[in-house]
Symmetry: C2
Subunit: 157 residues, 2 copies
């Protein structure tokens, strides 16, 4: 299982590494709202998967390595979608978002943060089948750190 998961991620990374997406302005309010809906969708799913892992790491819900494996694979898969779903600059329109303009103006730094999440979630997928609960919890912390680090700079408080 461990090898299998590693293989998926490596292959997915090779296929999807072309994701890097230059920011382009939304062309209408409708376009901005649609882009905002998609951006919100991917972060909603990331948050739901990470929320359960954070709760496990803090002992708030029972630890379950199978759920860690499943959620970390999902976080990894979703991480490859973030660049595309944040590539439309909606800052010229009034949309309901906490995204800061730096998401589009500091694109290289933002995509570096996405890559940090990809790498941290890869590590968590590998750790999840190790049977070592403290190592798994540490790897959950590693993913959480990349979420928080990005939120600090690219999301409203």
């Amino acid at each position: 299982m461990k090898l299998a998961s590693t293989k998926i991620i490596t292959v997915c990374a090779l296929i999807l590494a072309t994701n890097s997406a230059i920011a382009t302005p939304a062309t209408s309010e409708k376009h901005a709202n649609k882009a905002n809906e998609l951006r919100h969708a991917v972060f909603t799913m990331l948050g739901a998967n990470m929320g359960a892992l954070g709760a496990m790491a803090k002992g708030k819900i029972p630890f379950d390595a199978k759920v860690v494996e499943k959620n970390s694979i999902r976080i990894n898969q979703l991480s490859f979608m973030i660049a595309d779903y944040t590539s439309t600059d909606t800052s010229a329109y009034k949309v309901d978002t906490t995204a800061l303009p730096d998401v589009w103006t500091k694109r290289e730094a933002f995509e570096k943060r996405i890559n940090d999440l990809t790498i941290a979630s890869e590590k968590l997928v590998k750790a999840s089948t190790s049977g070592d609960e403290s190592a798994i919890k540490a790897a959950i912390g590693g993913v959480g750190k990349t979420c928080g680090g990005c939120h600090d700079n690219f999301r409203e408080e």
Copy 2:
């Protein structure tokens, strides 16, 4: 690339085949709204990926086999998430949704539809690297048919 993609899907299927999720009722309005947000998120992402493919198949936007490959991989990955994100029965609460109660009461039939999408998107991933545009368009049609078939029975018109 073709083999690699096939391998991803097969391995993902093995890992994530335990996804089958029995429907359980939401325990509060807050819970129902959160479940609804996640359900909406996964279908928003499915729709965005499929929308572009449908437009290509109909000749409304330029055909791009690389985009077909990327989107079909994403649809496949997302298909494995649908069962979890539709497992909370929100029908006792007033939430903004087009999901029909059969999503929860006819769970076996609904999950069969999810599996149809998984299989059709697998076929499209394989076709996407064949270089055969008409075969790729036919496989896009195969995915679209599974979307429409499910919407007919499980989504409000």
